[in-house]
């Protein structure tokens, strides 16, 4: 229990957010939206990690979340650079059009 809230509720909330992110990755075709849904899934996992860190009164979990944020930031920087390069070359970022790596 964290402030009278069961850890099960946090598990459910994180699972819902993660599943919404997963649906977004499957359903959407815009590659930027797919990136954003991956960010949503990362955030869901971070939320759960903080909840468990608090319930164990162990700071390491929150340090891991901090590292996750750094990795997410670098992933987004490189990913968006790749996307803008792809857009410059083939004028689309539709994920179905990107299935061919050549032309």
């Amino acid at each position: 229990m964290i402030n009278g809230i069961s850890i099960d509720v946090y598990l459910l909330l994180s699972a819902i957010l993660f599943a919404i992110g997963g649906v977004g990755v499957i359903v959407r075709r815009n590659t930027i939206i797919i990136f954003m849904c991956i960010e949503l899934m990362l955030t869901a996992v971070s939320l759960l990690m903080v909840a468990f860190s608090v319930i164990h009164n162990d700071t390491s979990g929150q340090v891991f979340v901090f590292f996750t944020m750094a990795v997410a930031a670098s992933e987004v920087a490189v990913g968006l650079a790749i996307l803008s390069m792809i857009y410059r070359n083939i004028k689309t970022i539709d994920s179905d059009e990107l299935s061919k790596l050549k032309n």
Binding site: G4, A15, R28, I32, M36, T43, V54, A72, A77, I93
Partner: protein, 178 residues
Amino acid sequence: MLGYTITQWLFGILSFLAVMFALLVVISRNPIHSVLYLVLTFFCVAGHYLLMNAQFLAIVHIAVYAGAIMVLFLFVIMLLNLNEQGEPRRNVLSRVIGTVAGGLLLLVFVGVLKGTEQLQTLSVANSEAGLIKNLGHVLFGEFLFPFEIVSILLLAALVGAIMLGKKNEKEDVTQNQA
């Protein structure tokens, strides 16, 4: 108030808003609206961090995600000039299949994770773990080496992004000749 404490009310409201905004990220057709809804979702998650007394992470979450990453997304979307006409939608069948797959994923998570409470008998009222003093001690003590590695990772990502974003000069020359 109906037997719930103020913290539980705040938790309920924040959870509801987070899930609603997350759904709107997936549903909305305009990419810019998606970005703005994702920013709101991140604010709700930061509120959750504050409820768990993880003050440092709440501030860093807003600064890094809402402040830096989402601005980068917005910047690229505006640079590429995307709008709702730009994206062809998947057909109904694959959208339904995708949603069902996500629902099944959620079902598996709930089935696996249900009953974790029994493993824990701890009850935390006000955790000290998220205060910046304790976090700093752990970050610059036990996790000093990973911290330095992350700085190298960020530098590599920075250089990589610049290299990828740079225009290819050879291509420009051939385009000018043609």
